[in-house]
Amino acid sequence: MMHPAPWILFWFFVICCHLYLDYSLYRLWKGWSRGMKTGFAIRRLKMPVVRIWLYEVFLQRQLFSLSVMRWLVHQCIFWGFISLTFLSLTKFILLLLSRISFDAGLHDFFSQGAGYPFTKLWGDFFGLILFAGCAGALARRFVLRPVQTAHDQTDTFLTVYLLLMTLSGFMLESLRMALSPSDLDQYAFIGGLFMPARFGIVAGLGTWHAGTWIIHAFSGAAILAYLPHSKLLHSLLAPLVIALNAAEEEGRKDMYWPKTKQYRPTR
């Protein structure tokens, strides 16, 4: 079904992208550490700091109080992206562990056993969430056009990129189901909507599958290399900055927790 060549190329590509990411982050870190006032002491992570961090990073409470719509869009992208990355990483680690028979049967359990529906539901659900988030972000940018929208083309590019990756993921799943149907396919409630027959594709499914896999897998890996140059970098740095600044505020005793919802911008 799968040609070995794309696999080899893919892993080579992943390693290259990863190395590039590491190198870029190292260079950035060298620059940041020059500008840092002091080292970060773990003892500064007091309870209010941890509480703020959890609320702001995972629930994005501040954003919620500013705009429910923006919060929803951001939450969808955030949780969709994190959950799908987690799924892919887990699958990959289990695959590696299964090769050395160290996975306690979990690889088979999740890829073809009783855990398979769970994997399908997880993937489809968070794929849908990510898709909805990206679509919402684009609608906000091009239809609602709030005054504070950044006119940065790279941000639009990234959103479209993620949206297309999600779509290619659903298509890949549907092609896989078309090639080797199973009773458990019913759990792929979104992938099922993309069955190739619906689009008049009945022949050459193997080629379609290989092509879609190449697009999906390579674009996924390319994100690693693109990350240091894109807005995605804030997904790594924002949690760090929130923790550092909340700890500083706690130290200065001026930590804020405003009831933002009560107020609106003047203009």
């Binding site: 950035l28 954003l63 504070q148 740095l237 924002a238 930590m255 804020y256 107020y263």
Partner: protein, 399 residues
């Protein structure tokens, strides 16, 4: 790192009081962060650098962008540090700011006046019968409390009322205090606000003076000086020296029953949170407690108050760099105050009071601008209200 952490969400833009008056991307935090990032990566060309510098100084460091930023970026501190780095790199502040900073460095006050004049307000007030007893100098009597009037209330004839009223209220509450008088230094916080690299040394000198003098508690009536002594000196002035804003202390005195506002002050007022007291130090409750304690006085909040209080434009050296923007900002604040139907706007900072007055002037508003001490004085000892003080001081001057 904060430059890269910016999510470009633009929330800062929607709330920035300076951007509201001059809507250019370079004014808001997102624009400034973007330029800073480029300065350290690819660099800016001449035009871009000019635009960036305009944005950097067309900013009152009010901290509104920090409060609304979902990433919690400590924006105003970043601007101050950026200003300092630029100065160190040979790119100076706007000319008016330089003059102001030079006055602080050379004369130890921002009015470029002889320090010997600093404590004269206390003598004049005592001679005019506005105080219950003379205010003693620290060098003669080391009281448990030091009242720190700050440059504006010490030198600006229009604002000396604040120093007199603060002293009188402390006396009414039976507080044993003294002042440094001619030895009172400028808090030097403006050096920090405008990026003067000499701030750390200046702060250390002041902290040494306080420690050498054995001062244990400092009461400050200016929000800017409070931010300076309380927050900017963190790590320089030991925590054993307690720095309180006057409103914190008066609120405490009222709650403990040492100061009782008794007379009716039948007024509808609105309250302006100074950035340095509110957003920068989270002091919102105490000044409001004071106003609520005054019989007959009713407080109506503006659309934007507390952490979202609209800046009057006096901070960060903005008034020096861009007076026309400061005027527009304070005019916007006055219009918000007028919307409440209040007859006066009250603030616990003499610098904000001055700033808001430019707003009433610009809008030809009939709204009165008062320091919070004026409201309390009217209820506690009306014989020391602004009208009496101004009259007495004018007579002393002409006499």
């Amino acid at each position: 790192m904060e430059m890269e952490a910016c999510a470009r969400c633009g929330e800062c833009l929607a709330w920035c009081p300076a951007y509201a008056q001059d809507p250019r991307e370079s004014i808001c935090s997102r624009g400034k962060l973007g330029s800073l990032k480029r300065i350290v990566t690819s660099g800016l060309n001449g035009e871009e650098m000019k635009e960036f510098l305009e944005g950097l100084y067309e900013c009152s460091a009010c901290g509104q962008c920090h409060i609304v930023c979902p990433v919690r970026i400590n924006t105003h501190e970043l601007w101050e540090r950026a200003r300092e780095s630029l100065v160190k790199a040979g790119i100076p502040q706007p000319e008016e700011q330089i003059k102001h900073l030079t006055a602080i460095r050379e004369c130890n006050n921002s009015f470029a006046k002889p320090q010997t004049e600093r404590g004269l307000w206390a003598e004049t007030a005592w001679r005019a019968g506005l105080l219950k007893e003379p205010v003693r100098l620290w060098k003669e009597y080391q009281a448990p409390v030091l009242y720190f009037a700050g440059c504006t209330a010490s030198f600006d004839p229009a604002m000396q009322t604040v120093a007199v009223q603060s002293a009188r209220l402390l006396q009414e509450a039976g507080v044993d205090f003294s002042i440094l008088g001619p030895d009172e230094p400028c808090c030097a916080s403006k050096l920090r606000r405008m990026g003067d690299p000499g701030f750390a040394d200046a702060a250390q000198q002041r902290a040494d003076l306080f420690l050498r003098s054995g001062i244990g508690r400092i009461i400050v009536s200016c929000a800017g000086c409070f931010k300076g002594l309380h927050s900017d000196y963190a790590g320089i002035l030991p925590a054993s020296v307690e720095v309180l804003h006057l409103t914190e202390y008066l609120d405490r005195l009222i709650r403990e029953g040492n100061l009782t506002p008794t007379r009716n002050v039948p007024m509808k007022v609105t309250y302006h949170d100074p950035c340095h007291l509110g957003r920068h130090n989270q002091i919102y409750r105490e000044p409001r407690n004071i106003l609520h304690a005054i019989p007959g006085l009713s407080l109506i909040e503006m659309r934007r108050h507390g952490p979202f209080s609209l800046c009057c434009g006096m901070g960060g050296g903005l008034k020096l760099a861009k007076p026309e923007i400061q005027k527009k900002m304070s005019a916007a604040r006055i219009r918000q105050a007028e919307e409440t139907g209040a007859e006066a706007i009250v603030t616990p900072c003499q610098t904000c009071q001055m700033g808001l007055m430019t707003g009433t002037e610009a809008t030809s508003s009939g709204l009165k601008v008062y320091h919070i001490t004026e409201m309390l004085i009217r209820s506690v000892c009306p014989e020391a209200d602004r009208a009496h003080i101004e009259k007495a001081f004018t007579e002393t001057e002409t006499g």
